[in-house]
């Protein structure tokens, strides 16, 4: 059956169209003449002759034959141009000299496929018994129409390449090589003639054996590459034939496949090699072919790179578009070249509203003037950071922090700007809130300070105004006693004494109240204060008491200088030392002052802690907090004189310096007062 098709296909197109028509017409006329003669004879004979039945039968047969011949001739008439077309298309697709652009031309492949299909349909019409699929397989097996096997294609296992080789036997140099050894498996007659070895000998040879020694390595590499790839074209080598002639040949290689029942995909069977003798071609053409080949290789490399770039682009594109920052590129004229999806999403805009539009359209109108300024600056300095406001499609403008970078050509010329923006609206809102809160706090603080000052002022004025009547009370009690002494009884004199004692106590309270009012009012700039000097001054103040009772005021180690108001700090030392001496039953009252590195609690930064300790009566821990309260006394007036304002004044002075004061003590075991003050440094 294959033979039939093959022979049909092999009819040369020229012969087919011109010569096959005439005998057909002659036969047709002859048959018609016979048919009509038979009909006339039939009518005659039926009337007159006993042979009528036989003649009639002959006539009928001729009519039937004529109809069949007519149908066959018609089909043949359609078949020839298609065959012709098939041959031409095949010649084009197989022609190794065709330009490289057509190598992978999809239109050509489509054409080949279409012609093949058309032909198979016609053949199946002609051979009614042939199953269509089978016919397709036969066509495929003829080898012209596929280079790389399409998936799922049904291959005929054998016979394919033998027909192919025979088909090409005319003038083409076509051969089959073993994929591993590159030994010939088959060679066309032209091939054998050109090379000078009969097929028998060629089967014992590898193609590499005839390649020029200098090109052998290259050939080996290129052929193996072709096998890996499935095909390669325009490979130029110099070979030596059996007659010792050096020839330049061009190879077209393609791997042929064969289907094995166990595997879904066909496996490589052998290498088909078409060879063209280029020896007589002018050197320029050879050169151009070499170039062509190089170009093909470069083209392939470029395609591969293009594919890689494409996948790279896809990867980076998602990184660009989905990044949590707003990306934007702006050209030298201020137009947006590109932006990412995050930006579009944030602003609620479409790509077309942004790309190609001036950048300033993103900004609120009040910011547009500033853009020119920083954009020009960017062209000079390459990096600029600004904060601006962008208009969102919905809602309030957004606060955007932008880091802009200039992208420059190798010669330093500004090309475009890359902007990375962050939406800082929420951050700014929070900051504004914090600012507002701290302003409110500062205001409250100021108010409090003002109130405190007013209170101090008030205490001071009250104290001041209380003193005048107090003075009157004491002075006039004295006058009464002296002026009317005789008239006053002993009881009256005692009453006067009570008045005067009370007045004296009241004066002490008022004095302390005044001192307290001033204690928090530290004056102006702090100065460096030498505590040792203040301790010496205190010692001098208590000199009389120390002399009469014995005892001492001692500095342990060195006292570092502090920063503060010297008058107030002097008062602080005096009050603490005075307390240590006053609340003291020891044989020899002793007050020690020392700077302490680790006072047992964290102290304000930049402060130094000091300790004032005594060997006095101590303070029960339950009173530790209370001793700093104003006019808080722990003892009866008869026991220890005093208003109870001393430690309140101390606390106010220390707090006014930003420090802390506290006490550690047990009843009967002396007291340790700690306070901190700003260090003056060395």
């Amino acid at each position: 059956m294959n033979r039939t098709i093959e022979s049909a296909l092999k009819i040369p197109p020229a012969r087919a169209s011109n010569r096959m028509g005439r005998p057909l017409v002659a036969v047709k006329i002859l048959v018609q003449v016979v048919a009509w003669s038979s009909a006339a004879a039939f009518i005659y004979v039926v009337s007159w002759h006993e042979l009528g039945v036989a003649v009639g039968f002959l006539g009928g047969t001729c009519v039937v034959a004529m109809a069949a011949l007519e149908r066959w001739a018609e089909r043949q008439r359609w078949m020839y141009p298609i065959e012709e077309m098939a041959t031409k298309v095949r010649a084009i697709s197989e022609n190794p000299e065709r330009p490289i652009e057509t190598l992978d031309n999809p239109q050509l492949a489509e054409l080949v496929r279409a012609v093949s299909e058309m032909r198979s349909k016609l053949i199946s019409m002609r051979e009614p018994g042939v199953h269509r699929n089978q016919s397709d397989s036969n066509l495929a097996a003829s080898g012209e129409f596929d280079i790389v096997p399409p998936e799922g294609f049904d291959f005929t296992p054998n016979g394919r390449d033998s027909t192919e080789a025979r088909w090409s036997a005319g003038s083409d140099m076509v051969s089959r090589l073993d994929l591993d050894t590159l030994n010939w498996l088959d060679a066309s007659d032209a091939d054998q003639t050109f090379l000078g070895w009969p097929l028998r000998d060629l089967k014992q040879m590898s193609f590499l054996d005839i390649v020029d020694a200098k090109e052998r390595d290259l050939a080996l590499a290129q052929i193996h590459a072709a096998i890996d790839k499935g095909e390669d074209h325009n490979l130029l080598y110099r070979i030596r034939n059996r007659r010792g002639e050096v020839k330049t040949v061009e190879l077209h290689l393609s791997v042929r496949y064969r289907k094995v029942p166990e595997l879904e995909r066909p496996i490589p069977a052998h290498l088909k090699m078409s060879m063209i003798d280029m020896t007589s071609r002018p050197p320029a053409e050879l050169e151009s072919r070499k170039r062509t080949r190089e170009l093909v290789e470069i083209n392939q490399q470029l395609r591969r790179m293009n594919r890689e770039l494409e996948s790279l682009k896809n990867r980076y594109s998602s990184l660009y578009h989905e990044a949590p920052s707003l990306y934007l590129s702006v050209d030298a004229t201020g137009k947006v070249i590109e932006c990412n999806n995050t930006l579009l999403g944030t602003l609620g805009r479409q790509r077309v509203d942004v790309i190609g539009r001036p950048y300033v359209e993103l900004e609120t109108s009040d910011r547009r003037g500033a853009f020119r300024e920083w954009f020009e600056l960017l062209k000079l300095v390459s990096n600029v950071e600004i904060e601006t406001r962008w208009v969102a499609k919905e809602g309030d403008p957004l606060a955007i922090a932008i880091a802009a970078r200039a992208v420059r050509a190798p010669d330093g010329r500004f090309q475009y700007a890359m902007l990375v923006g962050r939406d800082v609206t929420r951050k700014r809102e929070l900051e504004a809130q914090v600012r507002e809160n701290s302003e409110r706090l500062a205001q409250a603080n100021n108010e409090l300070q003002r109130k405190n000052k007013e209170l101090d002022q008030f205490a001071y004025i009250v104290a001041h105004d209380l003193k005048e009547p107090l003075r009157t009370l004491t002075a006039f009690s004295g006058f009464l006693e002296r002026d009317c002494g005789d008239a006053i009884t002993e009881v009256g004199r005692e009453s006067l004494q009570h008045i005067m004692d009370a007045s004296r106590r009241m004066r002490a309270f008022i004095d302390d109240l005044q001192t307290l009012g001033r204690a928090g009012n530290v004056t102006g700039e702090f100065v460096r204060v030498n505590l040792s000097v203040l301790v010496d001054r205190t010692r001098a103040d208590f000199a009389e008491q120390l002399r009469s009772r014995g005892g001492g005021i001692v500095i342990q180690g060195r006292l570092p200088d502090v920063l503060g108001d010297p008058t107030r700090i002097g008062q602080l030392i005096s009050n603490l030392v005075g307390n240590g001496l006053k609340y003291n039953q020891s044989e020899r009252p002793l007050v020690e002052i020392e700077a302490v590195a680790a006072p047992g609690r964290t102290i304000p930064e930049g402060h130094i802690a000091f300790e004032v300790r005594d060997n006095g009566i101590g303070i029960d821990p339950q009173f530790h907090a209370k001793v700093f309260q104003l006019f808080r006394r722990l003892h009866a007036r008869e026991e220890y004189e005093g208003t109870g304002a001393g430690l309140a004044i101390c606390q106010k002075i220390v707090v006014a310096h930003g420090g802390e004061i506290w006490v550690e003590s047990q009843a009967g075991k002396g007291a340790r007062f700690f306070f901190t003050l700003p260090a003056a440094g060395e």
Binding site: Y460, H464, K467, E468, P469, L470, R471, T472, T474, A475, F476, G478, F479, R507, Q514, R518, T523
Partner: protein, 149 residues
């Protein structure tokens, strides 16, 4: 030595005036005491004196000036005195209950010759007037009554 140490006391507290008067008497300081209870009448009195040559001897030898006065306060009175070409020669001793640094500084800045806090005890008043007399009445040279005289 002038037998009449003329003191001009400006104080709105009658008891304080009584106390100072009694202290002067009881310490036997030879004196003449003129008192005013507010700044306006004090300034009127002093300006009248300075314009009247016949009353030149009435010019006080010392002014004791309280800070806290009704109307214009002691510091303003002091400033007026010390900005007057004639009156500025008279020594002014601020005598007040206040011991605020600001008050002290302000008084000296306005031209006070001394700033003394009012004592709490009568006995200390007696000491004070004796001291004032000893210093301003006996030791210090008094300024001439008239510059152009």
């Amino acid at each position: 030595m002038s037998s009449s140490f003329h003191i001009l006391l400006v104080d709105d507290s009658p008891t304080d005036v009584l106390i100072i008067g009694r202290a002067l008497r009881e310490t036997n300081v030879p004196h003449r005491l003129t008192t005013f209870a507010d700044g306006f009448s004090t300034l009127d009195y002093l300006r009248a004196l300075s314009r009247d040559d016949s009353r030149i001897d009435e010019t006080p030898d010392l002014i004791l000036l309280d800070l806290n006065l009704p109307g214009i306060d002691g510091c303003e009175v002091l400033a007026s005195i010390k900005s007057d070409e004639e009156l500025k020669l008279i020594p002014v001793v601020m005598l007040t209950t206040s011991q605020r640094e600001e008050d002290v500084a302000q008084a000296y800045r306005a031209g006070a010759n001394t700033f003394i806090r009012k004592p709490d005890e009568y006995a200390l008043y007696q000491e004070l007037v004796k001291t004032l007399h000893r210093y301003w009445g006996l030791s210090a040279l008094r300024p001439p009554r008239r510059l152009h005289a």
